[in-house]
Symmetry: C2
Subunit: 154 residues, 2 copies
């Protein structure tokens, strides 16, 4: 049932290549309507977060005027990377439909294996080093949050 | 040496709470200059990807006009979630400086444990289901990419 939406995502992935981006496209579908679409724009838009899925999610949220895409589905020409999987998670979508998988992507130079390992690794084992400073002062905003009576959780 | 930048990130995290977002702030630092900053804007901007780190990365890249932040450091009031860690990874920054950690965040209702588990899980074990369709057709953009002589890898 998602084939027609996948064909649109694939068309966007081809358009991505033709417009100087990477070979990735995605659409967000809700109630059988496409409410957002995107293609890889990392290089042409000088934005490392502009993966197809994130562009599509941002477009869908802008159209609906809300950050919550519960009940929507993302249809992506490729299995999402950890960044995009995180974005899909935060958007509360309920299903990921994909075409190419991470093995296909690795075969053309988009290898997510290192980043999957990085996210799963304990902080001490990370390739990207982390350093903690001012932990006590940083809690101040958390205390503000806890004390705020009208906060909107997300 | 990152204390002054962390104090700015903490100030942004407090401003996040005061302006209807979450208690998170971040700055991108390169050659001792702040080149981008951000606070959590998920709710006020209706954008689930608008975590402080992503807002700061996008601002820094917009200022520099490039997607590559090699040599820069992200200073975040809290340990990044997997989505943001992915964005930091793709931006090629070399160090993460953080204040609160994931345990502090979980204690005020921002629990990243489930999303860490999700990214690390095999596809069949994911809570967010995935379905594969049109794998053969989806390869078309990958073939275009491979055949493109002037492609810019990222």
């Amino acid at each position: 049932m998602y084939e027609s939406f996948m064909r649109r995502a694939i068309a966007l992935s081809c358009q991505g290549v033709e417009t100087g981006g990477g070979p990735f496209g995605a659409v967000v579908v809700k109630d059988d309507d496409m409410i957002g679409e995107g293609m890889s724009q990392v290089v042409p838009c000088a934005d490392p977060t502009a993966h197809a899925e994130i562009v599509a999610i941002r477009a869908a949220c802008a159209r609906l005027g809300m950050h919550d895409l519960s009940g929507a589905v993302i249809v992506s020409s490729c299995e999402p990377c950890p960044m995009c999987l995180g974005a899909i998670w935060w958007s509360r979508m309920g299903l990921v439909v994909y075409g190419n998988d991470r093995t296909d992507a690795a075969a053309i130079g988009f290898d997510d294996a290192a980043i999957y390992a990085e996210v799963a690794a304990h902080l001490e084992a990370r390739r990207l080093p982390l350093r903690r400073v001012l932990a006590d002062e940083a809690l101040s905003a958390f205390r503000l949050w806890q004390a705020k009576p009208d906060k909107v959780s997300y």
